[in-house]
Subunit: 259 residues, 2 copies
């Protein structure tokens, strides 16, 4: 009998993702080499990266003007990479749980942070409503699914400033109107692939506006310019993510967002 | 016939590493779950992490007072993480190639950088000697193996300040006197595991001395405190690294450094 993991953290992946990844680690694209050994600059791996980006865009119906990145370091690294790139003076955060609190904490190193609302006093048992997003914030950050506490933001919010969302644990669980977001990010290990890769969907025009210098690896523009290949990408996790994306595409019930 | 990859970038791994990783992705530790799905907080994965750290220490004969970390983001992320943690006023760099130049460039965002010597004018065809390391530098950075140019620092240098080495492509190719280093780091994808994990060996007493605030994920102390499990680690790459470490241990010719 197939066993399932209902633990916190990494979760079940499609059987196809596991089987196809095993096959590629044994013999990648008929090369006689393992996926773990091949050059990420090889034509065959470039095709994997290109297809993963294309399918991500297709399945989420991502509009023009957005880039899709696959990065290392985990969503926790995004907690600081995000304000490094986007926070010039002030950012707004909705505090709905452990991950939202951690994201908010990192932003404070980079500028003023306004906690627009928090459900902490009620042990994060609800998603606050009726808060005001400062119109002069550089962005407004939400965590769409709050593991540990079990609350979720089920719809795409309206925001007067660029909306940034951590969708680590609910990406591809519903259609998303990406045009309402400035940036969406998440660790892959819940819904896409083994831990080790983080997806970032970013509206290009938001970048390059902060005055601080940004270390090369923490600058989204580095990874956009080099198609997530500035340095050696986490090839196994990206290959596995592609298999899950193909599985979603073949899933009759998946419908991208449409207006 | 087994095929070998002599390309730049990721390279050949032991057959045992590939076979054992395939087995674990199919059924991890008899759990009926894939290595790609299990909780990194599970007892069985904790045992993988513990054994990888213990073997790393054993095979390099690492003295007390050093921590061994397995992090995401690649060695390129270390180019900025390193000065974030260690550069208060001034750092010294030996410029011996592409990677050394990239490391040096990132350090400049954090303080004064002294290039003690460079072989750039001769297209990095040699390792400079007869340079002076400033006695007031916070650390002295070297790249022990210069891929692309084919030069290598074959011995453990003497330095009046903490010696920091990028050993991405020659770790475990010779015994190393770790006591001569303050920090050693490297991407795993040359000699250890598939891309996606970076090893860091750091002398604990060097940390906590800079005055700047450090984002949580970029602070080595975060990862020391949580045993490389502050966030979800790249489980597949770490599992594969452990298999290679076991393979090295069984390799009769491997001898750790001894005084």
């Amino acid at each position: 009998m197939k066993k399932y993991n209902f633990n916190a953290g990494p979760s079940v992946l499609p059987q196809e993702t596991i089987a196809n990844t095993v096959n590629a680690i044994t013999n990648f694209a008929g090369s006689g080499l393992s996926l773990m050994e091949i050059s990420h600059r090889s034509k065959d791996f470039q095709a994997v990266m290109d297809e993963a980006v294309a399918l991500f865009k297709e399945l989420l119906n991502i509009p023009d003007g957005y880039s899709v990145l696959f990065l290392g370091g985990g969503a926790s690294l995004q907690f600081c990479m995000l304000p490094f790139n986007l926070l010039e003076k002030k950012a707004a955060y909705l505090n709905t749980g452990t991950w939202a609190s951690k994201a908010l904490k990192e932003a404070k190193l980079f500028g003023e942070v306004v906690e627009v609302a928090s459900s902490k006093a009620a042990n994060f048992t609800y998603i606050p409503k009726d808060y005001v997003i400062p119109a002069d914030a550089d962005y407004f950050h939400i965590t769409t699914n709050n593991t540990i506490f079990g609350t979720e933001i089920h719809k795409d919010l309206d925001s007067p400033v660029p909306l940034v969302a951590d969708m680590s644990s609910d990406i591809f669980s519903r259609p998303v109107d990406v045009s309402k977001y400035g940036l969406i990010y998440g660790g892959a290990q819940k819904n896409l692939a083994p831990a080790g890769v983080t997806f970032v969907v970013v509206k290009d025009e938001l970048l390059g506006k902060v005055s601080r210098p940004i270390p090369t690896m923490l600058d989204y523009r580095t990874h956009i310019k080099d198609g997530s290949m500035f340095n050696t990408p986490p090839v196994v996790s990206i290959y596995a993510a592609l298999q899950t994306l193909k599985w979603i595409k073949n899933w009759a019930e998946w419908k991208p967002y449409t207006n």
